[in-house]
Amino acid sequence: MQKSVHVEYDYSVAKAFAVVAILFGIIGMSLGVVLAFQLAFPELSNLAGEYGTFGRLRPIHTNGVTFGFTLSGVFAGWYYISQRVLKVSLKESPFLMAIAKLHFVLYFITIILAVVTLFMGITTSKEYAELEWPLDVLVVVWWVLWGISIFGLIGIRRERTLYISLWYFIATFLAIAMLYLFNNMEVPTALVSGYGSWIHSVSMYSGTNDAIVQWWYGHNAVAFVFTVPIIALNYYFLPKESGQNVYSYKLSILAFWGLLFVYLWAGGHHLIYSTVPDWMQTMGSVMSVVLILPSWGSAINMLLTMKGEWQQLQTNTLIKFMVLASTFYMLSTIEGPIQAIKSVNAIAHFTDWIPGHVHDGVLGWVVFMIMAALFHMVPRMYKREIYSKSLMDTQFWLQTTGIVLYFTSMWIAGITQGMMWRAYDEYGSLVYSFIDTVIVLKPYYTIRAVGGLLYLVGFFMFAYNIYKTIKCGRVLDKEPVNATPVAA
């Protein structure tokens, strides 16, 4: 365990994941904007026949952003961070290098096949687990490859103690493995009967049990794709970029183990007032509120890392991205528990407040953090200076405006809808028919679509900036180092 060796890091796999992150980001977010406009202007839904309807595009949008963009960003982050904090290079092990490359190739093939099959309407209908069984098998294969990469690199490390980010990567790997396997248990029908489509399958669980397993998975796909690995990125890139140490080691321990213990219970809040047993609904509700503690624990730890250095917000746009991301993490993790309170859930469930909540988390926290990570990594991987800092700044404000338009309009829309559904007149009859509650939302749908469009334009600026950086950014002799560099 020597510390002073000079290690030449190999970024080939990290670069590949960075590029496809941007590619799938463009696909996933563009489709999101299309969907938003379809709700405001329904005639847009029939422009491409059966392949352009809301129902077909929606799973491609969610899968594209979750498993296309976010996971690519996470993997790019992993192949970058792991070498640095473990003080080993992928080059040192031809085996792990081959595993990493195979991981990338199979992953890429899977996402492309996912887009194709979802366009064709091949789906299991379980949210965020729509892929049919042959693709599930592929997912399991490259997930295991990633696991080999994680524990392989850790096995040959030169740094004795695992840095915080690695804790979160390990947790991501184990939790998704468990959740994905259990939720996607299905029986291929052609194999059993000898008839019909070979790709079709039927769920191992039925009805209420299926719902329990699905939301145990579904909410924790949010936990272990949209939260845990993004915290890993933040814990590495924020200290690196700001030159500040992580604020508190004790707080990071408390937040990490607390998050792992509490998060898995929270899936039950998707099933409040459903047919699952009452104690489970209550447990989901209570644990969701308890979840504020570990979530805010890490968020406060991130923000306090900037203690005494807040002036960097004025001088470094990247810090702005990461601080805004941490702030949106706090917003989103207070909003979620509020929605999980039974009386609030009675109004919020099934309304637009829910997509509103998801999007302030994803747009504000996940995408901002991944973009910041890429902005930090690309100059170091390609030895090029960022092409345009002013473009970065414009992008920041454009996207922030987009998010604010998005979540404010969806809050208003959701609560309006929830209140209208339950409105009674003085004779005890329902005041509104369902379609009344749809028509009243159209202005908010338009505002949301405009907000989404601003965000998408910002993302294109991001993609352009990265492209120009790689192609014609000013060459850096050695990678940029901050005034007070931190270890790792």
Partner: protein, 227 residues
């Protein structure tokens, strides 16, 4: 104590796994121990209904429509009796949905007709002015996949003991017949003919006469079965 784990990746991973398994063991597994029993009157889906359910899933109708009536007066007034766990005993997968851009459909068979659905799929705004739902004219041309529907029914019957070909209420008659492939497909086509008789689209009627079942027929069979 955590320092120790942070230097030993294997034990660290084991501890992580213990922490994340906890909730699953306590919250998820108990409901499987006592299997979700069907309520009286709940029947498995017929082959044609399953074919329709597959169309419903293919188009991700569940992205906008829920199939879960919550126990509130505003919902029971609007949609009918609130949902019971046993009613979903044969739903693989469940289709509760998570967002209502359109109304709940769990009991839509009680208050909408074949004719209404036909108009609605061809041109939603013709029956619901102001709707944001897309039209589904291709369902009048695409042919439903009865083979895969049969495969699904056969699979749930053999693997999960779903009670096809059984007398469920003791009146001496088989409630939902599946039988062998040929008779199952013939029954599905007969069911389709009964639905098509209530429809006005001539192309659909002609196709059904020729034994080709358009997706719309299967979908309507499924929607009518939701009661």
């Amino acid at each position: 104590m955590f320092h120790w784990f942070e230097q030993r990746p294997f034990f660290f991973a084991v501890l992580v796994f213990v922490f994340i398994s906890f909730a699953g063991i306590i919250e998820v597994i108990p409901d499987f121990a006592k299997q979700s029993r069907p309520t009286v009157g709940t029947k498995p889906y017929s082959v044609l209904e399953l074919a329709g359910r597959q169309v419903y899933i293919k188009e991700s109708c569940n992205a906008c429509h829920s199939q879960l009536v919550r126990p509130f007066k505003s919902e029971t007034d609007r949609y009918g009796m609130y949902s019971l766990s046993g009613e979903y005993a044969y739903d693989r997968p469940f289709l509760w949905g998570s967002k209502r851009t359109g109304p709940d459909l769990w009991r839509v068979g009680n208050y909408r007709t074949t004719d209404w659905h036909e108009n609605h799929m061809m041109d939603p705004a013709s029956v619901v002015p102001g709707t944001v739902m897309p039209a589904y004219p291709h369902q009048f041309e695409n042919i439903a996949d009865l083979d895969t529907a049969y495969a699904e029914a056969y699979t749930v019957k053999t693997v999960f003991a779903t009670p096809y070909d059984q007398d469920l209420n003791g009146d001496g008659k088989v409630d939902v017949e599946l039988g062998e492939y040929n008779s199952a497909i013939a029954n599905a086509k007969a069911d389709a003919a009964a639905i098509a008789a209530d429809m006005k689209n001539q192309a659909v009627k002609d196709a059904v006469t020729k034994g080709q079942i358009p997706e719309i027929v299967a979908l309507i069979a499924y929607l009518n079965s939701l009661k």
